[in-house]
Amino acid sequence: MFSKFYEWYEKRHDYARDWLSKNDGEVVGCFCSYAPEELIYAAGCLPMRVLGSHEPQDVTEPHIFGMFCPFCRDVLAQGLKGRYDYMKGIMIAQSCIHLRQSFTSWRNHVPVDYSFYLYMPNKVQTEHARSYYAGELVKFRDSLQKWRGREITDDALRETAELYNENRRLMHEVYDLRKQPNPPISGREAMVMVASSFFVDKKDHNAELKRILPELKSRTPDRECGARLMIVGSENDDTEFIKMVESVGATVVVDDHCTGSRYFWNSTQFNGDIMQDIANRYIDRPPCPTKDWERRDRFPHVLKLAQEFNVDGVITIQQKFCDPHEGDMVPLKEYLNSNDFPTLFLEFDVTVPLGPMRIRVEAFLEIVGEEELF
């Protein structure tokens, strides 16, 4: 049922090349899920988030010091190895300082026609961030217009924002099914569904979502649900890991990842000024820890998800060396534990050693199971 999503996820470059052959636009690589894709799409381009490939690599050492996260190095490796040689534009919406190095090194060493660094505010909790960010988005729009030689009208933006909202709404619908006692969708399928949405035209993605939703609603799961788990943390599109977790008596029913729910959770609200509306959508998004201060708005959101999806336990994962998540892990664990959700912390690298990880997950499932008994 999910084969289209798997195909898009695994053959993202084929999709992009095919898109280029059929459209009069360019593919724009987006670094970070904060990228306001609506502007790129409305400019007639295909926004495509740059993710890693989960292969050990030896090409980034001259560019990024080894104490930065494996994900940002994996991302840069894709560029240095020429995997995105069809991609003419790149842009970053500012968040952590790890990933921006992938962007600046890419700009230095991988040929592109267009690059844009968007100074997305980190303090999203101040009201001043709204007008400031809208002002920065105007610069991004101007720059895209100049590059593409075509106007990005407010109407086109509104239409795109509606298309994106539809995508968000449809993915919400799928996520809602995961609240069922035995969800008709596995965590791995959900992960691939969201991750594939980074790579393809949202029209295609929406069409596929609409096609599968009725089927999905009547799908009888061919497996037991087991323990209901939530997975929370930094960038994670490690499908092999989820597959392993779901092979030992558990189902991942919800997540808080920028590659998962965080990407599509909230929608654009239309209040008149479309640029301000889009800015607000990103300001109001469930935050990445690097933007979650002075208050901790992220924790209550995570807790709400855990409760709504009725999870038995939470796996907190983190890319090795990811400072933003390292800054949240200790209080997040305390917070979840004090709300009666057991947690298991795991550190991720480009490849995850499944053997040692399985031992940890199985031990955790024992704990979760025991809690259920008493």
């Binding site: 560019h63 190095q101 400031y132 201060w293 060396f321 390292e326 800054g327």
Partner: protein, 432 residues
């Protein structure tokens, strides 16, 4: 081989006293009914100065470095932070600081003095999170200003005003938090003083262009620190002027840092504080580290001059301007700080490479030693691109790995061996 005259700085003791007085004043603030706050060395400290003349702060980075210098205490602090579950690769100043807070041990004796509030700015991933935790742990209010509006060369009204608006918001918050009426005159005075102190520090650094150099970086570490403690304070600004005059005097009288100077280097990022003997080791080769973008530009404020050189930024007062209103003060304060050299690489490593190469040229350097600092992701951001950019121009560059605040991540023997290799490639041998 020439042997130059060398002697200690006359104002050395004063430097030491000022620093200790700063930490003592903070500790004793409440005895006199004063206010104490904690936050980063890059926080806009001129703003809380408007709350009165009895406002004292400790800045976390130099405080964390002071702990690092005491290796035994540092290890205790690190272990206390790890016992809470924090990752070992987080900012080592932050871990030292948190450890000192958990252990209730002030690095300058006594208990960790509880701050009245936290006040910070955010440019690296740890900045905002550091005091979020302190505020939660100590149950005190917290305000943090986001300064990540891009490099100074691209600053415009929208970007400047994002920072200025937050500053205005902050003043309202300060009044509410402390119950004090805010004094704009004190703010204006503090901003003027900050411009004076940070430009004067840059001026001191330019005196090190003199060959042989009057100062070495190890000495500069003990002097630039005052700017990281309270760059807005009159005491510190006056001290920098006194220091500048003395360094000028050293230049005029050929008093130097390293008696057998035969090789001029610069470093980068914070050093491993527990192992400043690295610099003594360099001296054996007659190699002097004249500073770094870090010692020059962490606190010093610089600008590109019309003739293409790089020098101390002209202060508003030097241009004949006086600061008289809150909004004007905040605009100047934001603009001034956003031009900080050490903030530019957060957006583009090439901007830092350009400044580093300018230092190589103006200060007539033979090579560059980059500290790949595992303790600070902020200043290590883009450092490998800096290495590539420098090496591409043919300037010899060496790297060594370490950690400014966590001695467990520094391998002394292998670092010295690496310096040997580097000196060998530069053709420098230890003078007989």
């Amino acid at each position: 081989m020439a042997e130059y005259r060398t002697e200690p700085l006359k104002c050395w003791n004063k430097a030491k006293e000022l620093r200790l007085k700063y930490y003592k004043d903070y500790q004793d603030a409440h005895k006199k009914g004063g206010i104490r706050w904690t936050g980063g060395a890059w926080a806009f400290d001129a703003i809380p100065a408007g709350l009165g003349r009895d406002v004292y702060n400790i800045t976390g980075e130099p405080y964390g470095a002071s702990i690092a210098f005491d290796r035994k205490l540092s290890l205790e602090c690190m272990e206390a932070a790890e016992a809470k579950g924090w990752a070992r690769d987080l900012c080592s100043y932050m871990r030292n600081y948190w450890g000192s807070m958990y252990l209730n041990k002030y690095a300058f004796g006594g208990d960790y003095p509880k701050p009245d509030f936290c006040y910070q700015d955010h440019i690296c991933c740890s900045h905002g999170k550091w005091y979020q935790h302190v505020a939660e742990y100590k149950k005190i209010p917290y305000f943090c200003i986001d300064v990540s509006v891009g490099p100074y060369k691209d600053l415009d009204e929208n970007r400047l005003m994002f920072v200025v608006n937050q500053m205005h918001e902050c003043i309202e918050w300060l009044e509410k938090t402390t119950g004090r009426k805010y004094n704009d005159e004190l703010l204006c005075e503090a901003v003027e003083t900050e411009c004076r102190s940070t430009s004067t520090w840059a001026e001191i650094c330019t005196l090190n262009m003199s060959k042989p150099a009057p100062l070495d970086e190890k000495t500069m570490y003990s002097l630039y620190v005052h700017g990281t403690l309270a760059k807005h304070s009159k005491e510190m600004a006056d001290f920098y002027e006194e220091l500048r005059d003395e360094v000028k005097d050293r230049v005029d009288n050929n008093i130097v840092a390293v008696p057998h100077e035969q090789c001029r280097l610069m470093s980068d990022t914070q050093p491993p504080w527990g192992f400043l003997k690295v610099f003594r080791y360099l001296e054996k080769f007659g190699a002097v580290s004249i500073g770094s973008l870090y010692t020059f530009g962490l606190i010093g404020i610089w600008e590109w001059k019309e003739d293409g050189t790089w020098g101390p930024r002209t202060t508003p007062m030097q241009k004949g301007e006086r600061i008289t209103s809150r909004d004007q003060a905040l605009r100047i304060l934001a603009d001034w700080n956003l031009s900080k050299p050490e903030w530019q690489h957060f957006y583009d490593p090439n901007l830092k490479t350009e400044m580093m190469l300018q230092i190589v040229k103006q200060w007539q350097l033979d090579g560059v030693i980059l500290h790949l600092n595992r303790g600070c992701e902020g200043l290590s951001c883009g450092i490998m691109e800096n290495r590539l950019g420098i090496a591409k121009t043919g300037v010899p560059v060496m790297t060594f790995e370490g950690n400014m605040g966590d001695e467990r991540e520094f391998d002394e023997k292998r670092t010295m061996a690496r310096i040997d290799s580097f000196m060998e490639t530069l053709g420098i041998t230890i003078p007989a």
